[in-house]
């Protein structure tokens, strides 16, 4: 089966400014792809490119096996949930949800049936007659999701949908989005700067920085085997401790020396002879430290990245 979303060598420039550089990603049907990175890394721009809201400067993009590089957003068979929810302020909740169908000329009875189904699914039936201004943040969020769901798209796009909610509601909605993904077996692309959100939701994570992809992988891969220093530092909470060290190897194994200002260097050993440059950064995850040990240093596992 063709990947549901395939991006090949995508570039995006504003004038001479390169926003996205050589992006290659593909996901299969049912995947939950999370684009994560610090602000200004281009993740939202990439999402807008996928939606067709921003034209791309180079490369190819296909959704559901069809080339969508120059197709307008409405014909891409996508639905999008925005950070500010972007509900139409003068329309009732029901009208907000059915607006897209009305524009596409779906007949009245189908509209009503779908509205009822989605409203039931998201438990927003009592809100249908209200205006967005009369809803709480969480309720607006649900309506925005309803507007996306009612479309039955090939691909759902989420642009930091939870960042305007309070911490408690954010966790609740996160669970709900995860459940929705599993129940619908839908394919989703989700942008966030919150790496916990990324870790918990994704089946596949893309870590971005400065318009370039740093690493693509599952949560476990990204967490356990970060591809570079940036990923190691950015993902995980609390962040991995990164300590400059010297490495040397001989037949007995590898020695990592952490120099200290006021004392003997701490030396870590590994039985395997690893081929390392002499200057390395030693990464220690907090969870690998064991408090019960008399001296924690003895329990540090040596990861030779």
């Amino acid at each position: 089966m063709a990947p549901i979303l395939e991006i090949q060598n995508l570039y995006k420039n504003y004038g001479s400014l390169e926003i996205l550089k050589d992006i290659n990603v593909s996901i299969d049907s049912g995947d939950f792809l999370v684009l994560v990175g610090p602000s200004g890394c281009g993740k939202s721009t990439l999402l807008n490119c996928i939606a067709g809201l921003e034209p791309i400067s180079g490369g190819k993009l296909s959704i559901g096996g069809q080339d969508m590089t120059n197709v307008s957003p409405k014909d891409r068979n996508i639905a999008m949930v925005f950070q500010s929810y972007a509900l139409y302020p003068t329309m009732s909740v029901a009208k907000n949800i059915t607006f897209g169908m009305k524009v596409r000329g779906v007949d009245q009875s189908t509209q009503e049936a779908k509205l009822a189904q989605v409203a039931q699914q998201l438990q927003i039936e009592p809100l249908l007659g209200r205006r967005p201004g009369q809803l709480s943040g969480g309720q607006r969020q649900r309506v925005a999701m309803g507007r996306a769901l009612v479309r039955d798209p090939k691909l759902f796009l989420f642009d930091e949908p939870l960042s305007n909610l309070d911490a408690k509601l954010r966790v609740e909605m996160r669970t709900e989005i995860k459940a929705l993904h599993q129940n619908l077996a839908a394919s989703m692309v989700y942008v966030t700067h919150d790496q916990i959100e990324a870790m918990t939701l994704a089946t596949k994570i893309v870590v971005m920085k400065g318009g370039e992809i740093q690493q693509i992988g599952t949560s476990a891969e990204i967490y356990n085997r970060p591809a570079n220093l940036f990923v190691a530092d950015f993902m995980g909470s609390p962040a991995m401790n990164l300590i400059p060290a010297k490495a040397r190897s001989n037949d007995d194994g590898t020695y990592i020396e952490i120099l200290r200002k006021d004392g003997e260097p701490i030396v870590l050993t590994d039985q395997v002879n690893r081929d390392l440059p002499s200057d390395v950064i030693h990464g220690v995850k907090h969870k690998t430290l064991d408090r019960r040990a008399a001296s924690p240093l003895h329990r540090v596992t040596c990861s030779s990245r």
Partner: protein, 297 residues
């Protein structure tokens, strides 16, 4: 705490406060009188007979109220050689102002929507140039405009005057709507695009319903501008198409024999009445609309 400190001097401070309050009212009352005096004189004079005006006091109330002057002003006063009052010119002004306001408001709304929500290369420059148009004095455009109207074949017509007012008003209406629409998140347009709505669909279904406060502001502004305009009216009209402001001028300036102050006053009030009405009806929206951009909807 603060109360405790003040309390010994309370009696005195209350008297002072009362005095201040009353001087405030007195000052306000004084300005109200100054402001309303001309209107008062106009209304009372228009209700007096010529005989009474000649013999009586300027600020005195009419001894005998008569609406003759109003009738004359409306349908009998002479503007040059014709003597049919301000009535036909009043309708000319309506015919100019209503379409002029409607067209310039609608085009301004579309312009503002484009400049604020469909950012394209050069949008800012185009907007700056339109803004520049707001500051061009009337007198500068008179000659070129006369030429353009001549080329278009609508010189001296009502349509010609509508055209002039629409063109001159666009800078302002665009500015109003643009400033209102930039406060609306661009995501709204994006969501509508994903929903499949096109340029005009988004405008009609989403932006126009949001625009009531700014429409009121624009309509008041444009109506006042167009209705009160004299220079364009006198430059680009001919006999039969003059607006009421020009007719008023002609009535006041083309008296033969006795100057009929009561008729002049009545005609002036008639000419000013529509703008007054618009303010009274929509005034509260005007203030609200001017500050509406600063509050998120």
């Amino acid at each position: 705490m603060a109360d405790l400190v003040i309390s010994p001097a309370r009696g005195q401070s209350q008297a002072v406060r009362l005095l201040l309050r009353w001087s405030l009212y007195a000052a306000l009352g004084f300005f109200v009188v100054i402001y309303l005096m001309p209107l008062f004189v106009m209304v009372t004079t228009s209700l007096k007979s010529l005989e009474e005006i000649r013999t009586g006091d300027l600020v005195a109330l009419p001894r005998e109220v008569t609406f003759d002057a109003w009738l004359t002003a409306w349908s009998g006063a002479c503007t040059g050689i014709k003597c049919e009052g301000v009535q036909p010119y009043f309708w000319n002004s309506v015919l100019i102002a209503v379409p002029g306001v409607a067209i310039s408001t609608l085009i301004g709304a579309i312009n503002g929507y484009v400049v604020a929500q469909w950012r394209f290369r050069g949008a800012n420059i185009i907007f700056a140039l339109m803004l520049f148009g707001c500051f061009i004095p009337f007198q500068v455009v008179l000659l070129p405009m006369a030429r353009v109207l001549g080329i278009m074949g609508i010189a001296g017509t009502i349509q010609g005057l509508i055209f002039v007012h629409v063109v001159y008003g666009l800078g302002f209406t665009t500015l109003f709507f643009r400033n209102y629409y930039v406060t609306i998140p661009v995501e709204l347009t994006k969501a509508a695009k994903v929903d499949g709505a096109g340029f005009f669909r988004i405008f009609w279904s989403i932006f126009l319903p949001l625009s009531l406060p700014i429409i009121v502001v624009t309509v008041i502004w444009q109506f006042t501008q167009i209705w009160n305009d004299f220079l364009f009216g006198v430059s680009f009209s001919q006999a039969g198409t003059q607006p009421v402001t020009v007719a008023l001028n002609n009535i006041v300036n083309s008296t033969t024999g006795v100057k009929e102050y009561n008729v002049d006053m009545a005609a002036a009030i008639i000419a000013a009445f529509p703008t007054l009405l618009v303010y009274v009806v929509a005034g509260k929206y005007f203030i609200r609309g001017l500050t509406a951009g600063s509050v998120k909807g």
